[in-house]
Amino acid sequence: MEEQLLQLLFTGLTLGSIYSIIALTLVTTFNVTGILNLAQGEFVVIGALLAVSLQGTGMPMIAVFIVSVILVAILGGLLERLTIYRARGASNLSMLIITIGLSISLRGLALLIWGTETYSLPAFSKGGSMVLGGAALNPQSIWIFALVGVTLTGLYGFFGHTFWGKAVKASVYNQTGARLQGINLNTISFLAFVAAGGLGAAAGVSIGPITMVTYDMGFMLGVKGFVAAAIGGLSNVGGAVIGGILLGILESFSSGLISSGLKDAISMIILLGVLLFRPEGIIGAIRERKI
């Protein structure tokens, strides 16, 4: 029984880390642009599916990872210029509808290119599972934890120690003030979407070896990422990571111990509960600074 619980914990941590990364990208774009990007899940799937195709050409996995991250980052930037940039000044709701439109278009595109098949990706490193306290830990999980660590350090480094990071932070605090200092908010929005694309793809390629990849898994991943972000209060980077991991663990335990059909229901109930009763987020009480 204990082994089973530990096993569920490992699964939950892995799943949660992926949700964390998606939540991180959502929070970053939300903070910077005020847009909740529901197409984020699609970036993850397209990243993973691109990796499947690239991997088919015999490229080494590290090159596959890098190329697919770059391609989806370009896609993110391109979509921002084509849609968000053109609609700048529209209401938040219009922006949300635009990202939903993008999401369904990208899903259709993925269906067109890759079809309905289920794909899998090879793990980053060879070798079997490690046994820890009687439960198996997939080495890919460690890669995913590392990715979360790198992303978080990267984000903190970027916001704390670079010129652009400080510019972004300034525009989060006070848009007008930032603009008066000569910070170009359009560029920042563009950069946010490039980063969202790249990070989404990184999450997709990393999760590919563990879960299978299908064209239609993006929407739910995006919503889960949002649930994670909402737990953390929607504008809190640290909260998003903790929220993602909490959600992953909750999901893994509820599907392992109760019923797997209820996995998605759990996160929806959490989302509704958080939105209705604690819109500032469960972890919002800690009140960290916004980025």
């Binding site: 635009i98 278009s105 929806m268």
Partner: protein, 330 residues
């Protein structure tokens, strides 16, 4: 009503006669679906276009109506008319229960709360076991009948659905031109200003929400009786997006927008189903969603008022007044 405003109704009535002459079952069934969607989107239009509250969960109410009609008529053998009535009332009650809390949320948060409600209900349809029949659904729903009169053909159903829609349109026409309609618009423009003008925003928003849920439930009940089979798949998030798409394409806050939106989206759907396999051999499935997405994005960027915004449409009196006020002051 000014004479000008009768024109739309007269055109609609004339259009309704054409299929009766043509007598094509394909045409009838397409028109029934358009009519059902138009009923839902009319309700959604009141909620989104007039009250300014978005919902990405109306497929849930549509489905709840359908399942209510199916369960009550097959398991409990109620008269079908009563089942249809229940299919409208139950979603209305559920909307009333969840509405008060949910509608406190604004914009993004409301969109996400309704979205998660929709997904939750869809999961319930899938996992409902005995009650909902799970993923494979329920079949053998009897024909809708009033007394001994049975709606057993596409033609009869077509007349029923469009008669309901016509009555609904007249009702909504009066609603949006009444004090309530103007109060709803004022909520959309600014909730604070509306509160200050003495409008009970929470109550009106809830009423609009319940009204739209009733209509979606009614359409769901009619749908269940029409196709006589029900399964979870037509009530997914995708359908909710389609309803929003119809409302946006037709034009938010316009009177004819929802009908136009329903016609355009269903026609586009049928058209794409014919054309896409010709362009991409061996294509099936949902490629058409690419086009939906592109249209949705394009409209939001270039024509946020929808198709109705392109031509003559019934302006909301309040807007004119506001503009006039600005002019006087400016």
């Amino acid at each position: 009503m000014k004479l000008k405003n009768y024109r739309g109704f007269i055109i609609l009535l004339l259009l309704l006669i054409i299929p009766l002459v043509a007598e094509s079952n394909y045409l009838y069934s397409t028109l029934v679906i358009i009519g059902l969607y138009a009923i839902i989107v009319q309700g959604l239009g009141i909620l989104m276009g007039y009250a300014g509250q978005v919902s990405f969960g109306h497929a849930a109410f549509f489905g709840l109506g359908g399942y209510t009609a199916a369960i009550i008529s097959t398991r409990f053998h109620w008269p079908t008319l009563l089942a249809l009535l229940a299919s409208a009332i139950l979603p209305g009650i559920i909307a009333g229960l969840i509405g008060r809390q949910t509608l406190k949320l604004r914009e993004l948060y409301l969109a996400l709360a309704t979205l998660s409600f929709g997904i939750l209900v869809h999961i319930f349809f899938n996992e409902g076991g005995e009650l909902t029949g799970g993923p494979s659904g329920m079949s053998g729903i009897p024909n809708l009948s009033i007394g001994s009169f049975e709606f057993d053909s596409d033609q009869k159903f077509y007349l029923l659905v469009w008669l309901i829609l016509l009555m609904l349109l007249i009702g909504i026409y009066n609603l949006v031109h009444s004090r309530t309609g103007r109060a709803l618009c004022s909520i959309r423009e600014s909730e604070y200003a509306a509160e200050n003008a003495g409008i009970d925003c929470a109550r009106l928003k809830l009423q609009a929400f319940v009204f739209s849920a009733l209509l979606a439930g009614l359409a769901g009940g009619l749908y269940a009786f029409y196709v006589s089979f029900i399964s979870p798949s037509p009530f997914s998030f995708h359908t909710s997006v389609q309803f929003v798409l119809m409302a946006v394409i037709g034009g938010l806050g316009t009177f004819w927008g929802p009908v136009i939106g329903a016609v355009v989206v269903v026609a586009l759907n049928e058209l794409l189903r014919e054309i896409v396999p010709l362009l991409i051999p061996g294509a099936g499935g949902e490629y058409q969603i690419i086009i939906y997405g592109v249209i949705l994005v394009g409209l939001m960027i270039f024509q946020p008022k929808g198709l109705s915004g392109m031509g003559q449409y019934f302006r909301i009196p309040l807007k004119k007044q506001l503009k006039a006020d600005v002019k006087i002051r400016g």
